[in-house]
Symmetry: C2
Subunit: 440 residues, 2 copies
């Protein structure tokens, strides 16, 4: 687990002015990674680090000229069109680059003049996925989500007997993952109309979002080897925001016995910025299991977990309807929860995933599952917020929602804050629902 070091010092300020503004997601204590290029250009995509409202171009010649040693090697890897190579270099490289950037970008750096040309404004940039995602695994790690959803799908049997023992997960679709800004047509799927004895193919009528934390794997493990819990975080590069769009009517009809498939694999959207675990060091929290619950099996338990296994990341879901956009009204917040309430930690997800020898690779993505908190208002999906579509939400425009309407744009935000430290943000992930294509 990462120690707090000079890069987290709350007194640090940057010579990039916007990084010092109160409330920025990207102060010098953050230094998250993305892959970007100038909007609309045919430049190659390459790695960048966010600072205030700017992006430090990690492929810029100015930067290569001032780095040395491991940091220079890491920078060279970051100039590639995906960060897979950089992720595979492991924690020593990530940490060396963070230290180098923290020093080069702080107010008293002697490189300020030299590095100023290496920045691109965020508003002038477009993003790509930060990694080629070989495999995407989605977990189900919020017990609050699992219980509420379980009640809707299986009223007599909401939380299955395995839930408190097994970090339940399944493999998702890698090919349809896109970076923030993904607009997609309402998908078709087989649905069973209420009372019908045969399904029909129709655009989903119960389109939902799922508020998740995405976890990028850095250094992988060999097929046949196991990552012990105590070493699990060494394999984690960082976190982002993830929207696991879901067609609930399709899901209800298709999910037995092999799990969700077409209900989920039409689109998954990620925030562009990956915040490293090292940046999150000040925002750790004890991982706690209620005393009345079974305690984890030994391979999923450990001292560091109990001390600081959780991550206190605040999460919000916002909705912007077409009417809000037309009327110039702001989006409305639908919920607010914290990743701290997750029943399983990131380290437990990694240890469990590999306990059978399954190999994780650099750039693989884990989803946390919908992060719902203990109260109904903290629910991370419309399915939960509307009690399975039975209690519509009222919006300030006079509109109501059970599930998403065409034109709806969903935005997630995430950040960490704690007394004595500078707030750091995950940025946001946005995506919009377009009308279904005409029947073919």
């Amino acid at each position: 687990m990462h120690a707090i070091n000079a890069t987290h010092d709350p007194s640090l300020r940057s010579w990039v002015g916007s990084a010092n503004r109160t409330g920025t997601d990207f102060p010098i204590q953050n230094l998250p990674f993305a892959v970007f290029r100038r909007s609309g250009s045919d430049e190659p995509f390459r790695g960048g680090v966010a600072l205030g409202d700017q992006i430090l171009d990690l492929g810029a010649a100015e930067l290569a000229g001032v780095a040395t040693g491991v940091a220079a090697e890491a920078l060279a890897a970051c100039a590639e069109p995906t960060l897979n190579s950089f992720m595979a270099m492991g924690n020593a490289a990530w940490s060396a680059l963070r230290k180098f950037l923290s020093e080069a970008l702080r107010a008293d750096s002697r490189f300020a003049a030299r590095l100023r040309p290496a920045f691109v404004p965020q508003k002038a940039a477009e993003y790509a996925l930060a990694a080629r995602i070989g495999d995407y695994t989605d977990f189900y790690a919020s017990i609050h989500h699992a219980t509420t959803v379980g009640k809707l799908f299986r009223p007599d049997n909401p939380l299955l007997p395995n839930y408190k023992w097994v970090p339940i997960g399944y493999h998702g679709r890698a090919s349809s993952i896109r970076v923030s800004g993904q607009d997609f047509q309402r998908p078709y799927g087989q649905v069973l109309p209420k009372g019908a004895d045969r399904p029909e193919l129709a655009p989903t009528a119960r389109l939902d979002y799922e508020l998740e934390v995405g976890v990028f794997i850095g250094a992988g493990n060999q097929l046949g080897s196991r990552v012990p819990l105590a070493e699990a975080e060494e394999h984690v590069f960082g976190v982002c925001l993830l929207n696991d769009w879901s067609a609930r009517d399709v899901q209800a009809w298709e999910y037995q016995p092999l799990g969700p498939f077409l209900a989920k694999n039409f689109a998954t959207t990620l925030s562009p910025w990956i915040v490293t675990l090292e940046a999150l060091a000040p925002f750790r929290a004890p991982w706690m299991r209620p005393a009345q619950d079974p305690q984890p099996l030994p391979y999923l338990d450990g001292a560091a977990l109990r001390t600081a296994g959780a991550l206190d990341i605040q999460l919000e879901a916002w909705l912007e309807t077409a009417r809000m956009r037309a009327q110039g009204l702001p989006p409305e917040r639908l919920s607010h929860s914290s990743f701290r309430d997750c029943y399983w930690s990131v380290s437990q997800l990694v240890a469990h995933h590999t306990v059978n020898g399954c190999n994780l690779e650099a750039g693989d993505l884990l989803g946390s599952g919908t992060q719902s908190g203990p109260t109904p208002e903290e629910a991370g999906s419309l399915l939960e917020l509307t009690d399975g579509g039975k209690r519509p939400i009222s919006l300030g425009t006079g509109e109501t929602r059970t599930f998403l309407a065409d034109g709806d744009r969903v935005v997630f935000r995430g950040w960490c804050e704690k007394a004595g430290y500078v707030r750091i943000g995950l940025g946001e992930v946005a995506g919009r629902v377009l009308p279904a294509a005409p029947p073919s």
Copy 2:
């Protein structure tokens, strides 16, 4: 659907003698693709085509010198270390290369002397996966398997109401797929001992194989687009054999509600050779749905499907125990089934997979699910053959099996035969179970 053409002519013979031997998997009418190099060498992997007991090296200079046009472009793509680029070229390129190879390799070819140095004996070769597999989807398309297994997992509810409507599938793990010859340690996993109220971590005691057909996607589709049933086969490059190793005790405990995960993702093994759909043209069969069953929704139905949507591929599972090896005894055949009995066709799997706009990419892999036939002896897994482990199989060595023992080697074979055509084979896929690692 591919027409029968001159490449299927049963009278064709090759100037490579072993291709003309009765019973070979790889006559000149087959021409399947793999990625190979000389065993133990540090040569680059590249594409090859099987002919008798030889491999035509598609990267060989001799070959490049005689091909022209699209066939030459296809050959250049086949010289890469994976066939993804070749697969992405689509059917016109695959078919042009097949025609070129058929002509260059037949007995009366003028290229015989020139191409002779471009061969490597199969016994001197080692294989790699033929494609970088971006996503792997496993289906559940044999109703006989689904019914038998359903009875074991859900005695009161064997075949779920969606089965006859939805080609049930789920996403599998791409990173742990290996080519034939994969030996792996018996995996650990959480299992719930009979009568226990808490699970334990243990090596699986119910390790099984699953006899499947693997389907490689060639040309992909854009995210948000749909592949109509009538065009589905244009997106399919070819088929191979697939062993979806499964830990049944882990599966039973973990699979609800999101499907199999660690029970399956520790290893999946593929045969090296991919037989193209064009090579399989003579072995098509009508796709039939029993009259008493619901007929498919329109997006899963069509005239070509009804005429020739099925593939009559014979499938066998063989077991070689450590004792058989020690005593020099041959492997024993455990079952024999046909892909013809599959409830859903390959075209239906593709059309269903994309009906929501999910994008398939060149090199993606679909598994058919365990191919069990209508009689109990045709079951494609030990779970079925032993009635869930209750009725052990007796082997000629005096051994018995419910599930796989350490040292067991499982071999699948596949082939097509039909009066008036030359038999073609899929070759074989083999893998072996090693003892579990010591507890850590």
